[in-house]
Assembly symmetry: C2
Homo-oligomer: 143 residues x 2
């Protein structure tokens, strides 16, 4: 797990100013993968005291734009953030409870980045979401 100094370096490397809210958000995302914005606000407030939700929204957007975190939003879910970026991993999502788990790319390196017909769109990423039922919800439903 990176240290605060590492996070500082990451921010500076992305030409972003180093502020306490940003360090706290970056730390929170690293410690709580797939957390939604509201959870991150909670964690950040535990860390810093009062922080406006607007600041967290701004920071998350800035970090996403800089590529330091990645925003994911499976259908029917609110925005969630994770710190694994650039490694082409994907997600498994439970249809019932919404839990998200990471999955490394099934077929190797960015295999799906070559659709049969791209309709002229310059594709830069292929996102894969596996939908299913987690063990807990599976037993709950069959009962």
């Amino acid at each position: 797990m990176p240290t605060v100094t590492d996070f500082e370096r990451m921010l500076r490397g992305a030409a972003l100013r180093v502020t306490r809210p940003r360090l706290a958000v970056l730390t929170a995302v690293h410690h709580h993968p797939h957390a939604d914005t509201d959870s991150i606000i909670g964690v950040v407030r535990d860390d810093l005291g009062d922080v406006s939700h607007q600041a967290v929204y701004d920071v998350l957007r800035a970090l996403s734009a800089a590529g330091l975190v990645r925003r994911i939003q499976p259908a029917g879910s609110v925005g969630r953030y994770e710190s694994r970026t650039g490694d082409n991993h994907h997600h498994v999502v439970c249809r019932s409870c919404g839990v998200i788990a990471d999955v490394d790319c099934a077929v190797g390196d960015a295999p799906c980045l070559t659709p049969s017909d791209d309709h002229g769109i310059a594709i830069d990423e292929a996102e894969v979401i596996y939908w299913g039922l987690c063990p807990d919800c599976s037993t709950a439903q069959s009962s």
Copy 2:
């Protein structure tokens, strides 16, 4: 394109009552792939006159549950609906303007349904979203 009679059969086949709003919504989704709920409400109202937005939401959910339409919701977009179901096709989405286009599965038949590690989740669908820039947005940005 299916006829009204076909839509009636589809509804009955799914054990759903045949109502004017449902026929209108089903028709609208078939004629306007990837339309959001609001557009569908508009189309349905052009067809039937006043229809409550609640009815359209209900119908879309019922049709989704029955598998007659499929709901998709790329990150940052509102819910959208399409009539192609069960053929394992995927989508290309423009990061800038949000247009959606269909893509047939790149590697054949449900290739991605076998992630390296499913974390115990019983997977029933693999959804692939290709992100990129459409030609229009591409030229607009470079200028």
